[in-house]
């Protein structure tokens, strides 16, 4: 286990994509402190900001207010990162495996273009959760993202595969231009959810206003949702009991293929 404790609050955003189990594995503590980071527009070392406790391992524990520390766990392929405190933008972006547990709030683009693994955020998160960067063909492509608080706009935008579950509210344009995958929102859904959605599923546990390019299909109990909720439960997420509950199925977005769906729980 390697423990990083923030001792000097960065004055500018700190780009610390080196904080991953892949980079830390098997390195001595001195080498970890020398890992390069970018502070504002200047090169710096990880040790300039963090106290490093322990040799490099695949199990990282971060302490402190890291809301200015960006790219934590970005691109990681294995191991675990646990953050006790807030974290900055791009947390776990492009990660391919392993697990990140954030016990605070996170900035924008958490889990953007994630390609595997699990990102579990206990607080709120910003915009672009699991989404696609501007110009990218798709966002999240595999894996699991759980947010126990609220999420901002463009959650799961252009996602291709995987599951995003948000216990709180989600901002506008959730699942916009989604290609496939599943977004489950237990709180309220912002406007224009599923705009330009190709395939994929958005599940809403509260009534919501849909775009006129969605058409009502039926009222039924989607069995796959039981499987998804059980899967979330296995990750320690408290989920509502939907036994016997029905959902309204709307197909869309008919501005495009119309093969996606928004499922809204019955009152």
């Amino acid at each position: 286990m390697t423990i990083l404790t923030l001792r000097t609050q960065p004055q500018a955003p700190l780009e610390a994509g080196v904080i991953t189990p892949d980079q830390f594995m098997s390195k001595p503590a001195a080498a970890l402190a020398r890992l390069p980071v970018v502070h504002g527009n200047e090169q710096a070392c990880l040790g300039d900001f963090f106290a490093v406790d322990g040799e490099g391992s695949t199990e990282l524990i971060l302490n402190g207010d890291l809301s200015r520390v960006k790219w934590i766990g970005a691109g990681m392929t294995m191991g675990s990162v646990t953050i006790h405190g807030d974290s900055g933008m791009h947390l776990g972006a492009g990660m391919r495996g392993g697990e990140i547990n954030a016990f605070g709030n996170t900035g924008d683009w958490a889990g953007a273009e994630i390609n595997g693994g699990k990102l579990h955020i206990r607080g709120n998160t910003g915009h672009g959760l699991g989404g696609a960067y501007r110009g990218s063909r798709h966002g999240m492509n595999r894996g699991l993202i759980i947010v126990e608080g609220n999420a901002g706009t463009e959650t799961g935008a252009a996602m291709r595969r995987g599951l995003i579950a948000v216990k709180g509210d989600v901002g506008d344009f959730a699942g916009a231009f989604m290609i496939a995958g599943t977004i489950v929102v237990f709180g309220s859904l912002g406007i224009r959810a599923g705009a330009g959605l190709l395939r994929g599923t958005i599940v809403a546990f509260r009534q919501t206003e849909l775009l006129p390019t969605y058409r009502y299909a039926c009222r039924y109990h989607p069995l796959f949702l039981d499987k998804i909720l059980r899967e979330l439960q296995s990750h320690g997420v408290a989920i509502p009991d939907i036994a016997g509950r029905c959902f309204q199925r709307y197909s869309g977005d008919f501005n495009r293929l119309g093969k996606g769906e928004i499922l809204i729980i019955d009152d």
Partner: protein, 299 residues
């Protein structure tokens, strides 16, 4: 040579069993009634690979299922992996997909896998939807009562088929009672099915026939009505024989079922319990009755 268990002669012989491939299918539905209905249909006409291409049976009712609904598990066996995959896909497609409210899940963790949902999805005519949940892919196939949810891959493994015992009784009542008790005890063994009706066979067969076009024919040595016509295997006083055929996911469960079945069948009116074999020339596995019983009752 025989020896006695609870006053019943146990012949010191072996059951000859064969290498098979097996898979476990979990069927859930809105109620136990509909889960059993689908499982009953899916495992129907699957008593013997000779005539049916596969052997199948309901394994048990389940307390816990992948979707939390009432469900049952069933086992399917076939001589080869490809044959098993075909049998599973056809049977799930015709009997589970068609049954109201059902869903179908893999119930076996195995290195080898059969592609089932991946074949059935085409019924969705391009409207099927795939979902990966917990690392496993499921297919949602639109049907008239909503959706049929089926897992894409089902685990399959090498298994054992054709384990058996023969219960020789003084009359049909006692033989049937003993066979029923044996079947009931055997069904409690996980990983085992008894593919014949009620688990019991009255038409035991031998290899070949006087008719050249027949692969198998009646086991005349055990037919009471032929006692004076052919060399018989029946002791005096035996007037009825029932066989129980056992398929299992591995040899140990077939042996266990054999053991509990024999012990349950040793009741008054039963003269002897033996097993069917072909001289050890056909099957890969030999299940010695004495050996399996000694594991239960040390001498």
């Amino acid at each position: 040579m025989t020896y006695l268990v609870k006053g019943v002669e146990i012949e010191d012989t072996f059951a000859e069993a064969f290498g098979m491939w097996g898979g476990r299918v979990i069927i859930t539905a809105v109620s136990s009634k509909w889960a059993r209905e689908a499982a009953g249909k899916m495992t129907g006409y699957a008593t013997s690979v000779i005539g049916c291409g596969c052997e199948a049976g309901i394994e048990r009712d389940l307390d816990s299922t992948p979707d939390g609904r009432p469900g049952v598990s069933a086992l399917i066996f076939a001589p080869g992996k490809d044959g098993l995959e075909t049998a599973m896909a056809e049977r799930i497609g015709q009997c589970v997909l068609t049954c109201p409210t059902t869903a179908c899940f893999n119930g076996l963790s195995a290195a080898e896998q059969a592609s089932i949902g991946n074949q059935l999805r085409f019924f969705g005519d391009t409207h099927q939807i795939s979902k990966i949940i917990g690392g496993r892919r499921f297919w949602r196939i639109p049907v008239m009562d909503g959706e049929f949810l089926v897992e894409e891959k089902f685990g399959v493994q090498k298994a054992v088929g054709g384990g058996n015992i023969l219960i020789l009784g003084e009359d049909s009542q006692s033989a049937l009672k003993a066979a029923e008790l044996a079947a009931e005890a055997m069904r409690r063994v996980p990983g085992v099915i008894l593919p014949f009706p009620g688990g019991i066979v009255r038409s035991g067969s031998k290899v070949g026939s006087r008719y050249k076009f027949m692969k198998a024919s009646t086991n005349d040595a055990f037919c009471p009505t032929l006692r004076s016509l052919v060399p018989t295997a029946l002791p005096d006083g035996v007037n009825c024989v029932y066989e129980i055929v056992i398929d299992g996911l591995d040899l140990s469960v077939v042996e266990q079922a054999t053991r509990v079945g024999i012990l349950a069948a040793c009741i008054p009116g039963i003269q002897r319990i033996t097993a069917g074999n072909y001289g050890g020339n056909l099957g890969r596995f030999k299940i010695y009755l004495r050996k399996v019983l000694e594991e239960a009752v040390p001498a």
